[in-house]
């Protein structure tokens, strides 16, 4: 929680303290008119009274005043809000290793299917773009709010071939991102960066600009041989986790098509919510005033203020 006018809090605290002092003075004066009883210990024993009632009323009275005083300071509270707009780039690895069939039917086809689920899970106002990368990165779909068009663009993802230039893909995403707003990058890859700019530096750059990178590692633990090459397709989980950590995102691992689908669907839903500071002054004032009104009504019903 934050306050737009923190100094008003100090003034409010003084007001509350002054009211508490005034209350105690008045209560002390009123106590002179209190009834006198022979033995209050016997009275307490005999009635087993509900002493919490006056205490609760006093507490509610104080809470109401504090809320009213705090409302003057312009309180803002962090609430998870549905994203109405934003920009998301999904970067899909199309290096040669994505031909591997350890993830059915191939890593690339599974990635495309999962990307489709991700796009479909995004709120309608969010723009989505698609970048593919192998030895170099390219834009398959610039940012668009037309999700159907983005899904169709997945058909244009090139066949797997070449090296893995993760840093280039992140750089391309950074170049095309707007300067502000809710922005993020989803990186789906099975490999180790072996071309282009340093992805760790790019991840740090994106993080510095409040653009988290969510990395999804695709492939089975034992990997697979890249068809036609004899090379083994491996995954550098440490690096992928590092890109996510450096940018404020998160890493997840998918060992089959279903896990990949779930991971990206979850990301789609997760990125549909953002935590925003919301003006709470009206709510504070309403709650404080409501509590005070309730206290007055209850106190009148009970005969007098505690």
């Amino acid at each position: 929680m934050s306050f737009s006018d923190p100094w008003a809090l100090v003034v409010g605290a003084f007001v509350v303290l002054a009211l508490v002092w005034l209350y105690r003075r008045l209560a002390a004066r009123a106590s002179n008119d209190a009834l006198v009883y022979s033995d209050v210990a016997f009275f307490a024993h005999a009635t087993q009274p509900r002493r919490w009632v006056p205490r609760a009323i006093r507490g509610a009275l104080l809470l109401g005043i504090v809320l009213l005083a705090a409302s003057l300071a312009g309180p803002k509270m962090l609430f998870p809000m549905p994203v109405r707009d934003g920009d998301v780039f999904i970067c899909i690895d199309t290096s040669g290793s994505m031909q591997s069939t350890d993830v059915s039917p191939t890593r690339e086809e599974a990635a495309k299917a999962a990307a489709r689920a991700f796009i479909e899970a995004l709120p309608s106002g969010v723009k989505v773009g698609i970048i593919t990368f192998s030895s170099e990165a390219g834009t398959v779909q610039p940012l668009t709010a037309d999700h159907a068009q983005a899904v169709s663009a997945l058909d244009d993802v090139p066949e797997p071939n070449g090296a893995t230039a993760i840093g280039d893909a992140l750089q391309l995403a950074a170049q095309q991102m707007p300067d502000s707003g809710h922005r993020l990058v989803v990186l789906v890859t099975d490999g180790v960066n072996n071309a282009g700019v340093d992805p760790q530096q790019m991840a740090q750059y994106l993080g510095a600009h409040h653009i988290p990178v969510y990395t999804v590692g695709i492939g089975t633990p034992n990997g697979d041989v890249i068809p036609g090459t004899g090379e083994e397709a491996s995954i550098d989980e440490g690096a992928l986790r590092g890109y996510a950590d450096a940018s404020g995102g998160a890493y997840s691992r998918a060992e089959d098509a279903s896990q990949l689908h779930d991971a990206l669907s979850r990301l789609g839903r997760m990125t549909s919510i953002e935590t925003k500071p919301v003006e709470a002054a009206f709510g504070f004032a309403l709650a404080g005033g409501g509590i005070l009104a309730l206290v007055v009504v209850i106190a009148m019903g009970l005969g007098r203020f505690p």
Binding site: S31, L35, V36, A46, R304
Partner: protein, 140 residues
């Protein structure tokens, strides 16, 4: 701050025991709030040596607690209580006051005292009732 100096019942009874001669008559009137098991011995001693009569000042709220809602009570000998009084509290109070009075009567009887409740409008009749002269008390 106490509204009155606390009354020391034990000291008062001990003073009576020391000052009175055997066979003297002792009339004690009070609300007896302090009287608990710890007084049984001295009551019995007094009951044996003297002709003791106790009148119990009845709780003015014996017939029912007239309080409701949030109330503040000061103890005559100190203490304050801020509390809420509802139907449950009133019922418990009524039962407790009656039980206390019955216990006092029993305690005095066991100690060899005669005892009754003080009628503040007619103290003489109260005394006669304590002596078991009910018909005389009615006449008074």
């Amino acid at each position: 701050m106490p509204l009155a100096v606390a009354f020391d019942l034990r000291k008062a009874l001990e003073t009576a025991r020391a000052a009175l001669t055997r066979g003297s008559a002792l009339l004690a009137i009070g609300d007896w709030f302090d009287l608990d098991d710890g007084y049984d011995r001295i009551l019995s001693e007094l009951g044996t040596r003297f002709d003791c009569t106790a009148l119990i000042a009845r709780d003015p709220w014996y017939d029912g607690l007239p309080l409701r809602g949030i109330v503040r009570l000061h103890g005559a000998e100190g203490g304050t209580i801020d509390t809420y009084i509802g139907r449950g509290e009133r019922e418990r109070y009524r039962a407790a006051v009656r039980a206390r009075e019955a216990t006092l009567v029993t305690r005095f009887a066991h100690a060899g005292w005669r005892c009754d409740v003080l009628d503040e409008q007619n103290g003489e009749a109260s005394l006669l009732r304590a002596f078991g002269i009910a018909h005389a008390a009615r006449a008074v």
